[in-house]
């Protein structure tokens, strides 16, 4: 029971933090949503600048579209997909897609962590619990060695 107490405390803190981080947040305002969507779309005429931080006509057009579509009640994902569909093959989405081949980008780190933890558990799990008791042969070996060093001295 005592051994598990700190672990329970850690678990409680993690769960509480996740709960506050996901559920406890206020609904973002339309402006905040527009800003966050704009920061995930690359400006069509720039190399790697987000629409939110570019002043080119193409970026202004995308910002105007985002504002209107949010007002019309579209989801962030639908807006992103529409802009991406207008410029095929240009990879306008700065956040890779959550599904398909692009989904690997999100899944691989999680898989790596799981594999790493599993590897550590397998490797170090065998260390604990196994108590080694000296056998009669070990004692004889030690006794012989001690005898030998005493003889040398």
């Amino acid at each position: 029971m005592k051994v598990w107490a700190p672990w329970m405390a850690v678990l409680f803190v993690v769960v509480a933090a996740l709960f506050v981080g996901t559920v406890g947040q206020q609904e973002p305002t339309p402006t905040e949503r527009a800003q966050s969507v704009a920061s995930t779309i690359r400006c069509p005429t720039c190399d790697s600048q987000a629409v939110s931080s570019s002043d080119t006509p193409s970026a202004q057009a995308v910002r105007s579209l985002i504002t209107d579509r949010i007002e019309a009640g579209d989801s962030d994902e639908a807006i992103r997909d529409y802009v991406d569909s207008r410029y095929p093959g240009q990879n306008l989405l700065l956040d890779p897609a959550g599904s398909g081949f692009g989904g690997l980008v999100w899944a691989l780190p999680v898989i790596m962590v799981v594999v790493a933890v599993a590897g550590l558990v397998v490797r170090f799990g065998s260390y604990g619990g196994v108590s080694r008791t000296a056998s009669a042969a070990d004692r004889d070996l030690v006794a012989a060695a001690q005898q030998a060093s005493e003889d040398d001295a």
Binding site: A61, L65, R86, Y87
Partner: protein, 194 residues
């Protein structure tokens, strides 16, 4: 004696550990090699004409208000249509202008085709001055915040589209248009269509 014992123990442990290390190194190596192959084989987006979302589809609306000429509704249009996106600050657009004039003068007279320009990232005053100085009598639509260009998938001007009387976008011209080429295309499509 004691040294010999630890050495034996190390050897016993070293075998599986080095095998694991070899596996890890090999898999990392394979992943790296795959990445290099992917980078080498992936095409550079700038090297190829980018795909258009409107080609072969019915033309998206032209939303901007008319800056010059009569208001235009693409829904009721029954002629061949050249939709031209341009800006007065864009040098190739200025160079393209005489070709558009040629096209309009030649084909609007017969009622076969018409030109509609859409301003891209430019001020209304600049456009009006430009048309006064360089001529051109066709409908010019306001930039509409670039929304029309976005719907048409336009990011770089000049860019033009040829829209059939049926309302389907049949050609895309990235860069300036040449009047003779457009005329030839229309003739070819009309022969194919009839």
């Amino acid at each position: 004696m004691t040294d010999a014992v630890t050495d034996v123990e190390n050897d016993v442990e070293a075998a599986p550990r080095s095998r694991a290390v070899r596996w890890a190194a090999a898999s990392v190596g394979v992943v790296m090699a795959l990445l290099v192959v992917m980078l080498l084989t992936s095409k550079n987006a700038d090297d190829q004409p980018s795909a258009s979302p409107v080609l072969g589809q019915s033309a998206p609306a032209l939303g901007g208000a008319a800056l010059i000429g009569e208001p235009f509704d693409i829904g009721t249009n029954d002629r061949w249509l050249v939709v031209n996106f341009f800006a007065t600050w864009c040098v190739p657009c200025v160079q393209e202008h005489p070709q558009l004039r040629l096209l309009q003068e030649d084909m609007a007279a017969t009622g076969q085709a018409r030109v509609v320009s859409v301003v891209y990232g430019d001020k209304a005053e600049a456009v009006k001055v430009f048309f006064e100085e360089n001529g051109g009598e066709w409908t010019v639509l306001d930039a509409d915040d670039g929304r029309t260009a976005l719907d048409w998938g336009v990011a770089k001007v000049p860019e033009s589209f040829l829209v059939a009387p049926t309302g389907i976008v049949v050609e895309r011209f990235q860069g300036g248009v040449v009047a003779a080429d457009v005329r030839q295309l229309i003739d070819r499509y009309e022969v194919e269509g009839s």
